[in-house]
Symmetry: C2
Subunit: 276 residues, 2 copies
Amino acid sequence: MSATSTFDQAIALARTERAAVHHAELDASWGFGPRIHGGLLMALAGHALSLDLREESGHADPISLSAYFLSAAQSGKAVVSTQVLRRGRSHTSAMASLAQDGQERMRILATFGNLDDQPSAAPVQVFTAPPRMPSPEKCVGTEAAPPELLKEAPLLERLDLRLDPQCVGWALGAPSGQSWMQGWLRFPDDREPDPLMLLLAVDCLPPVSLDLGVSGWAPTLELTAHIRARPAPGWLRLKHSTVLVGGGYMEEDAEIWDSEGRLVAQSRQLARVGRA
Amino acid sequence: MSATSTFDQAIALARTERAAVHHAELDASWGFGPRIHGGLLMALAGHALSLDLREESGHADPISLSAYFLSAAQSGKAVVSTQVLRRGRSHTSAMASLAQDGQERMRILATFGNLDDQPSAAPVQVFTAPPRMPSPEKCVGTEAAPPELLKEAPLLERLDLRLDPQCVGWALGAPSGQSWMQGWLRFPDDREPDPLMLLLAVDCLPPVSLDLGVSGWAPTLELTAHIRARPAPGWLRLKHSTVLVGGGYMEEDAEIWDSEGRLVAQSRQLARVGRA
């Protein structure tokens, strides 16, 4: 992990005089719509939890992390605090909070453990498959995005995100009506994936509601990520899907696959859609 | 809602001298394996949140609720406390904790709102379908369960749960290898479904790992439920599925459909499986 990658800069933390309280700086270049991207906030809080729980119990890897988004984060200073709820042999459960100027932006519950400490004899049964799509070179990069979108979502320049050409109808004014979206992701500076990147990656694709013809951002109320394995170096494959858009809400499920074809993360979020 | 139904008795709360702190009594008859059933704990904490947030802001319905299970709840006294994190126009976000003798059993983050206050103009798009299965009369009730299971899981007598005959191979020593399970659910005393019952219902089917040949209980680390609509009276249809059992963990997704064929709740949990 390069200490100078833009992602590692974005999730950098400075210790304070108080244990389990960290200072961070949210950079405007990680903005998405009117706020700092929620995935970046999860990675930042995940980083604070990883540092504190490694010291506490050696449990440095997120296994499950649930984030509730309370108010829109802006660029500028932020404070991340953590609190252990329960220490166990295999897991430590904890809470984290991200605040700016005393306003809480995000509250997190999480269980941390050690991804290398999984019973090798445990069964593996997989009932899904990696997304099938053209190679990254044949997919649609963010350089093809409309300039007004890039202006609203500078985050897109922090990511090398390539959408399956089947999933870009919405951007051309012709939503496909598909309930799923997929693409490739890596960092432009080749910073390799790790569990903290996965916390960002679960929320990097455009909302599937766009390709269903429901316009507008889809602000996340809640997102829970499960990290299932440490990802191999290389491109990640992302797939999002929904089974129900209704009543002003959408559930959106994500799968993240690594370059060795393993399902390394899953997430589900509830977002607001189709409201004024 | 009948005040004397066994479910309403089980989630009854007594006010204490402190605001937002409630007393409850966990009855052994809601036991499942070595602990009080997690779904009942979620319904109980959801009840406390509903009472407190109704007073606070009129937001009495769970929209999203994430529960982290910290230690096994036993029968006996419990204390449920709640704390508002953010009041908004449409939603109130809050935290809840359930403890026994000073030991925390479960911590919850949740967003509450009003299920009747959804924009009628909002689009509804559904990409899944209710479970197809024989009528409740032709499904397999818990009276068919082995007596040793009923002894270990008295909860089953609190529920009128009827499994699709396709999903009972595990109980006969011949797991089907299917990655899903489905059935019907109502309360034996005809107490009708509401959002609090849905918080119980998302964790009422046997773990799908059993029908995959992975024996043993599947203790939940984390479960997030999204309540999508107020359920109609009558039977609920439940479907659980997994896409990945591996590394000692299983993700399990639930859909709950009401008697009018609407998807009223979704959940995802991470459980431990196949460990000693």
